[in-house]
């Protein structure tokens, strides 16, 4: 009887973990402070020293607005691929997915696949068109043949909302992580991330941000590769032997080898899948990376490389999660609270990969992985800030307010001020949300990106009949619906507002399955009904836009940057 109850409890716990991760995008949750880890702090200090040195070099090269937003278009496809991977492989996906595999086995794989399948969509539909039509932001592309003020206002709003939600999740994650990884206080992390990120972005712009992301991507991929090889080496490189041992020691037995509680109802599953798949193609900080390369060819190569690295990384997290099952459960004394498996891992379930680092590489490697996990947040936040700054300075200030008459120096000045303001805002929000449940925020960012930014981009670039009114209306409908339905779902209604479980009016894990088609529908119907003179002009401009987007004629080159 006692054993049964324990099983029921772990099963329920796993369900809750899986459920919240599904809704959340594997967030980091609340953590408890651990003892100070000087090795990790020293390694992180080396990373900071090195990246600040690069920032100094980048600052000397950053003279115009183009240098600031796009590194003058001088990044190669391979470098950009690594930087995109660095932007995308967040601490939440590294620690969260390996933690999910550790807790539930196979369910972690299902989750990671969702995060990967957006990349081919970007490759096939977006990368080269973005590069050919755009200059600094995705609004350049969305507003190409439309009336600038409404479309830019919409696109800047869409970008900023996505950036803010994503950023709060990252800042709170940084604060929670520093308690476990370095044994420092929450506020130290938030201020540290805020200040360092401002240094990178303010002085070094896109050049520094790109290199921070590249260095971080290389460190993370090397560290994860080492761990995966160390795990496989123990089992003579036989996955079957690894799985057999994992099934033997895991409390859920062979259930970890098959799908479990992650997918409850098909509608939620497909909806989350849509948010991840098409949301990736609407994230402003990712789309912005396509303007840093010199040509459409390089833009395609960069997503090709990024997809390879990200896919490879998710396979590694899978092996790492199983490795953690095998190595941590057998040594509860070292890795579990009070040496008791029932009390959970020290520092929480997301620490599986970090503990495994200690198990395979001792304290030095633990320090390395901790430093890399923290550096990861820094790189992601820098990218987000830069894209937020470009939305305000390039879309709102230079285009909407100054009607395109702001010169490069003026725009650069405004984007630098915005960077500082966003940095300060990130720190304030990070502190304000310390005790809040921010699990829903990353998923919300993806849902907005797929329900608002993606339909607007898709229809304005690919559909002749779309008009200013259509895309603006559709974009705002998608944005508002995504936010409202998320607020009415479990992840906010119950988890944040504290209403009783099961009372959420919106029963699914993501709004995407409703909000994305509705945004497309509104763009279609409003455009079709729009017979204004302006609309006719916009349709007539489609051929011009099509030729430029398909051939790269007149595209911004690195020389004219």
């Amino acid at each position: 009887m006692k054993i049964q109850r324990k099983h029921l409890f772990t099963g329920l716990l796993a369900l809750i973990v899986a459920g919240s991760a599904l809704a959340a995008g594997a967030d980091l949750g609340q953590t408890t402070k651990q003892s100070t880890n000087w090795i990790a702090i020293a390694m992180f200090a080396i990373f900071v020293g090195f990246t600040l040195y690069i920032t100094k070099w980048a600052a000397a090269k950053t003279k115009s607005a183009a240098d600031y937003y796009t590194a003058g278009g001088g990044i190669t496809g391979f470098q950009n691929g690594l930087a995109i991977a660095g932007d995308y492989m967040s601490a939440a996906s590294f620690l969260g997915i390996s933690g999910l595999v550790f807790a539930n086995g196979y369910d972690g794989v299902i989750f990671s696949i969702g995060w990967l399948v957006g990349w081919p969509v970007i490759t096939f539909l977006m990368a080269e068109r973005l590069r050919n039509l755009g200059k600094f932001t995705f609004a350049d592309v969305a507003a190409y043949r439309f009336s600038q003020t409404p479309v830019r206002t919409y696109a800047a709003t869409g970008s900023l909302v996505v950036v803010l939600f994503y950023m709060i999740a990252q800042m709170v994650g940084a604060g929670q992580l520093i308690k476990v990884l370095f044994g420092l206080e929450y506020w130290v992390a938030v201020i540290l991330v805020g200040v360092l990120m401002m240094c990178y972005v303010f002085f070094g712009g896109m050049t520094a941000t790109t290199w921070v992301q590249i260095i971080k991507a290389v460190l993370l991929l090397s560290g994860a590769t080492f761990m995966a090889i160390a795990v496989l080496w123990k089992f003579g490189f036989s996955p079957e032997a690894l799985f057999a041992k994992a099934v033997e020691v895991h409390s859920k037995g062979d259930k970890i080898m098959a799908p479990g509680g992650l997918i409850k109802d098909p509608i939620s599953a497909v909806s989350v899948g849509m948010a991840l798949m098409f949301g990736t193609a609407g994230l402003p900080h990712i789309l912005m990376r396509f303007f840093t390369v010199p040509s459409a060819k390089a833009a395609r190569s960069s997503v090709g490389w990024a997809t390879c690295w990200i896919g490879y990384f998710y396979i590694l997290t899978f092996i790492i999660g199983f490795g953690a099952i095998v190595m941590l459960i057998q040594d509860p004394e070292t890795f579990y609270v009070g040496g008791d498996i029932a009390k959970g891992l020290k520092g929480g379930g997301n620490m599986a990969a970090v503990h495994l680092a200690k198990a395979v590489g001792g304290d030095i490697f633990l320090g390395f992985i901790s430093a890399v996990a923290f550096a990861t947040i820094l790189a992601v936040v820098a990218g987000l800030t830069l894209s937020g700054a470009s939305a305000i300075a390039h879309d709102l200030y230079a285009t909407v307010i100054k009607k395109g008459k702001a010169d490069s120096a003026d725009e650069l000045r405004v984007s630098k001020i915005t960077t500082l303001a966003l940095g300060a805002l990130a720190v304030l929000l990070g502190i304000a949300f310390e005790k809040q449940n921010v699990a829903f925020m990353v998923m919300l960012a993806f849902t907005i990106a797929c329900s608002a930014n993606f339909p607007v981009l898709f229809m304005s670039v690919l559909w002749r009949n779309s008009t200013t009114r259509g895309v603006t209306a559709g974009g705002f409908v998608g944005l508002i619906l995504a936010v409202v339905l998320t607020a009415l779902s479990d992840s906010v209604w119950v988890a944040v507002f504290g209403n009783p479980a099961g009372s959420a009016p919106f029963p699914y894990a993501s709004a995407a399955i409703f909000s994305m088609p509705l945004a497309f529908f509104v763009i279609w119907i409003v455009s079709v009904l729009d017979n204004s003179e302006q609309a006719q002009k916009e349709r007539a401009l489609f051929d011009d836009q099509l030729i430029r987007s398909e051939t790269g004629l007149g595209a911004v080159t690195s020389a004219s940057h």
Partner: protein, 101 residues
């Protein structure tokens, strides 16, 4: 510039390239969607299928299928990038050169 645009628009090679590349891109997108949503629906409706063990060990059929979806995603992307960066780009370059003569 206006002249170049008109020349490209009236060049049948341009229309052919756009059609070919778009058809190819949409077929590839459809392939990925079938693979991914197929996988999700399989989990939602036939969990038992994925839980079948292979060859007497503990490894289930779900493992090669899951890893397969990841590899398929990478391979399809790389195939598209290679074709677009060689064949499509060469054709697009020819069209541009003809128009700018």
């Amino acid at each position: 510039m206006q002249e170049t645009l008109v020349k490209i628009r009236d060049n049948p090679k341009f229309k052919a390239l756009v059609n070919k590349r778009n058809t190819y891109a949409f077929i590839m997108t459809a392939l990925i969607m079938v693979a991914y949503y197929g996988f999700i629906l399989l989990i939602a409706f036939d969990r038992e299928f994925l839980a079948q063990k292979i060859g007497g060990g503990v490894t289930t059929i779900g493992i090669p299928i899951g890893v397969g979806v990841i590899l398929f995603t990478i391979i399809v992307t790389v195939i598209y990038v290679r074709r677009a960066n060689t064949e499509f780009d060469d054709e697009s370059k020819t069209i541009l050169e003809e128009a700018q003569k």
